[in-house]
Amino acid sequence: MRDPRRASRIVSYILLAPIVAFFVSPILWLIVTPFSIRPSLFISLNGFTLNNFTRVFQNRTAVNAFRNSLVISVSVVVLVTTCALLAAYVLSRHDFKGRNVLLYMLVLFSSVVSGAAAMVPIFILNLRLGLINTELGVILTLSGGIMPTALFILKDFFDSIPRTYEEAALVDGSSPLQVMFRIFLPLSSKGVIVIAMLVFTQSWSNFLVPFVLLRSTSKYPVSVAIYTFFSEVGVPDIGMISAYAFLYTLPVIFAYVLIERKFGFSFYGGIKG
């Protein structure tokens, strides 16, 4: 029997098809070109090869940039996750005077001081601190920018863990620090992993901060390296760039799949931006 809602369903498919094509087309290039024997700007797979990847690994700048990106991202993840974890625990479990004002101020500043407008004072700050053209400067700047968001999400997550677990452990005679490490951390490991993943993707993908703060090519992370590859004068090596971009994108996709599995994107809410 024919479902009378079928007509409206067909209409929706007709409307959705071009939208899906619009979203997929540019991405398709990234999936196809790295494996293409004669890579071009047009999406076409004419024979399969891994040659483009080999050329990435032969390019010293490219390999070096991978190492730099890894150093920066891992440092930011460790720094932000640790600091945010401690602070969020206190903010979630301890109701001190001015806590709400503090949180309010943090939301405000994190959404106001962002983008290129923030780069001018941040550049001067790094200049004064002697951190221009250092990885430390990039790490600290990225950490300061991501910290408030990580803090809120973790606090929200901690708020959702009932206090009774900790109270029960305290009644049983555990010390407050034991409670934190034996009871609280295992309960919140899911949230901590998600935060670590989010912080990773944000710092791994960031272009503007290293672009403004770093000078020497040898210190560039992948984001800036790719930009110099495709914006430099002369004929760009399309195959190499696409393979490089492909490798650079994979960890981000992987991290998001992990986040999605753990939480679903509903959770992801207002973090981006």
């Binding site: 029997m1 024919r2 479902d3 009378p4 809602r5």
Partner: protein, 357 residues
């Protein structure tokens, strides 16, 4: 042809059969209740009649027309949902008027009808308020008003009393019964509450696991349940159903023998079977009876008293309307009213009396 007909209607959700070959005939003057535990398919059946779901097999007729594959708007039905679905951004007046507004009825006409319906449902003074500003009972009436204003072929009510507290529910139930008599067309009502079904309906269909087990008047279903499920679902406290072994026309219950040869049954179970008797059809006796047992617990409820009696491993509930002098542990004889005793075969189906066949 009946006003509403469901002809072997089947509905599956992925691989769960929610409604399984259901046949129903509902007359225009019926207050027809679909009764069953949650997940039995009663709400899906209602949604099939509304056109919110479409059957995989079978046919649905409303007012003589095949509407099986018609959208809800072409069926002329009105529905009241469990949560009333009153629009929070519209006043009570706008909510009630909405069906007419959608059908582009002239403004004057809408005003007149809203006033009339509000009057008869006693909500005239709430018209300018918003749904969240009125009580649950009032919300329920507003939802009814929005249905009543439509003059539909059938009213579909999905557990409309379940969101009210116990006291209000009884009041709303009486109101609903009065109202249904004035509607002039059939009502299909879904509930899991057997007392609601008994109080309101002209006919009840008891459902379980997608099947309709029995259809009939409340009296018929109460007095002659088709099987052990219906028997135990209807009535509070429910019918006592005890498994026993049959030796010809004698029922053997944990070594005690009950002679049932007076019962005019078409046959007796071969070996295994069940007897069923409602709590009000058992009487206490100090010296003699059909069974001997031990008082387990006495629960006085004011007007009536429920006594649970252990007969070896089985337990029977007895409903009496006077104070009882017994206490836990007392030995007691039970007399069963044989004319009210039912026998079920091994599969749980009630064995008919010879005059019923």
């Amino acid at each position: 042809m009946s006003w509403i007909v469901l002809e072997s209607v089947t509905k599956r959700f992925s691989n769960v059969v929610a409604v399984n070959k259901v046949n129903l005939q509902i007359e225009r003057q019926d207050f027809f209740t679909l009764l069953g535990p949650s997940g039995c398919g009663k709400t899906t059946t209602l949604r099939l009649i509304a056109g919110l779901e479409f059957p995989d097999e079978g046919k649905i007729y409303i007012a003589g027309r095949d509407v099986t594959m018609e959208l809800p708007k072409n069926r002329n039905v009105a529905m009241v949902f469990q949560n009333y679905a009153l629009y929070p951004h519209m006043t009570v007046r706008e909510n009630i008027a909405y069906p007419l507004f959608v059908r582009k009825v002239p403004k004057k006409e809408i005003e007149r009808k809203v006033a009339f319906v509000a009057e008869s449902l006693q909500i005239s003074d709430l018209l300018e308020r918003y749904p969240q500003q009125i009580s649950g009972g009032q919300q329920q009436r507003v939802a009814l008003a929005r249905a009543v204003i439509q003059t539909p072929n059938v009213f579909l009510l999905d557990e409309p009393l379940s969101n009210l507290d116990a006291k209000l529910r009884i009041e709303a139930r009486s109101f609903l019964k009065r109202l249904s008599m004035e509607l002039g067309t059939s009502v299909v009502y879904v509930t899991h509450d057997q007392s609601e079904a008994m109080a309101l309906s002209t006919k009840i269909a008891v459902m379980n696991q997608g099947h309709v087990l029995q259809v009939g008047t409340p009296r018929l279903i109460y007095d002659t349940p088709a099987n052990t499920f219906v028997a135990s679902f209807i009535g509070n406290p429910p019918m006592n159903i005890v498994e026993c072994r049959f030796d010809g026309s004698t029922c053997v219950l944990d070594g005690q023998r009950i002679d049932l040869s007076d019962l005019p049954l078409s046959e007796f179970p071969k070996e295994r079977g069940f007897i069923g008797i409602r709590p009000e059809n058992i009487a206490f006796h100090t010296k003699e009876g059909d069974l001997i047992g031990e008082v387990y617990v006495v629960e006085p409820l004011g007007f009536e008293t429920v006594v649970t009696v252990k007969v070896n491993t089985s337990s029977l509930r007895v409903l009496v309307f006077e104070d009882v002098p017994y206490k836990s542990g007392d030995k007691i004889f039970l007399k069963l009213r044989k004319d009210k005793l039912h026998v079920f075969d091994e599969s749980g189906a009630r064995i008919l009396r010879r005059d019923e066949a």
